[in-house]
């Protein structure tokens, strides 16, 4: 039986779908079979980030309505043979499915796939309830901003109430701003949210380039810092002990060096 992991955040636009796409790809690269479920009915995006939008024929809705078999709706990735996407319907809203139906789909997929990753829609309404219904564990994505952290806290509370253990990804960290005390650090965020840290992803312009092309960062030949961070997260999901990236190294200034000199004494 595969693991069912929901990727969620509360607030929109913090990088849920980017994380889902990249973690799915990274796990598939490491020879695991992965099924990605887009649970964002009406506002689907995961197909775009994976570059699979032209190959969507059926969606989860047709499977549930009995108009096609589950296998027919799964879009197989051509780059990584172990990765499939179950697309969401674009012409319906979040009330089109029930938590029970989501469970049915996710459980069916765990029979064949090592990892079932569910990309949760923003918000805490029906779409969220659907997305977490089947999950054994959750990844909460946030950015070091007050609104994103507040929403993440709300989501963590709801996950706790449903007895789903959650782990944290802090996305879009800008080390230079943290060092200038103009952004919360990863530690600040983690201390406030008080759940285990799964990963740190630095702000990386290449994410936009990757999205433009429909080729998640972790796939590219020359891996950027963001890509490395996401690959590391995938390895931690597998249970490997991988050190967190030291994002400060690149911003070694004269001031910080003198400061370190005094601290070491």
């Amino acid at each position: 039986m595969g693991r069912i992991i929901v990727v969620t955040s509360g607030k929109g636009g913090v990088g849920k779908t980017t994380c889902s796409a990249n973690l799915g790809m990274a796990l598939a690269r490491a020879d695991h079979s992965v099924a990605l479920i887009d649970a964002d009915f009406g506002l689907r995006n995961l197909d775009l980030l994976l570059g699979l939008e032209n190959r969507v024929v059926y969606t989860a809705l047709e499977v549930l309505a009995g108009q096609c078999r589950l296998e027919q709706a799964l879009v197989k990735d051509k780059r990584l043979k172990d990765l499939v996407l179950l697309p969401a319907a674009q012409n319906r809203n979040k009330d089109a499915v029930t938590p029970e139906q989501m469970k049915q789909l996710a459980y069916a997929l765990t029979k064949k796939y090592d990892y079932v990753l569910i990309d949760c829609p923003a918000g805490i309404e029906m779409g969220f309830q659907n997305a977490i219904a089947a999950a054994d564990e959750a990844i909460v994505v946030t950015t070091p901003e007050i609104s994103a952290v507040r929403d993440a806290d709300r989501v963590i509370g709801l996950l706790e109430a449903s007895r789903i253990p959650s782990k944290l990804i802090v996305n879009r960290i800008r080390p230079s701003m943290v060092q200038a005390n103009d952004m919360m650090s990863v530690n600040d965020v983690q201390e406030i949210l008080a759940i285990p840290l799964l990963g740190i992803v630095p702000d990386d312009e290449q994410v936009i380039v990757a999205t433009n092309r429909g080729e998640p960062l972790v796939l590219s030949e020359e891996v950027t810092l963001g890509g490395t961070a996401l690959r590391n997260i995938a390895q931690r999901l597998e249970g490997k002990d991988v050190e967190f990236l030291d994002l400060n190294a690149a911003y070694d200034t004269l001031f910080s060096r003198i400061k370190k000199l005094f601290r070491s004494k």
Binding site: I146, D153, V178, F262
Partner: protein, 93 residues
């Protein structure tokens, strides 16, 4: 000590708090309220009731009264700081 001096030398003697400290403070406060699910009215009513009960036994220093929600490690606590001016001889009904 040295770090403080260095920070002043290099970054200027900034007495104002940094925006990072500001945001942490604001977040902690707002989360304590979010997590407790208590409305400001209920918190205020509770504060009044607590003060009323305590005041039956002791005379409180109204200047230093503090009743606030705090949140640590996902547990919320009501922290009340009620400085006592003097103990009353007989509890008043």
């Amino acid at each position: 000590m040295f770090n403080d001096i260095l920070e002043r030398l290099f970054l200027g003697s900034d007495i104002d708090t940094t925006s990072r400290e500001d945001v942490k403070g604001r977040l902690k406060l707002v989360l304590a309220h979010d997590r407790s699910n208590l409305s400001p009215e209920m918190l205020e009513a509770m504060r009044r009731d607590i003060l009323e009960v305590v005041s039956r036994y002791v005379e409180l220093d109204s200047e230093g009264l503090q009743v606030a929600l705090e949140s640590d490690q996902r547990a919320t606590a009501l922290i009340a700081n009620l400085p006592i001016r003097r103990i009353k001889a007989q509890p008043q009904p």
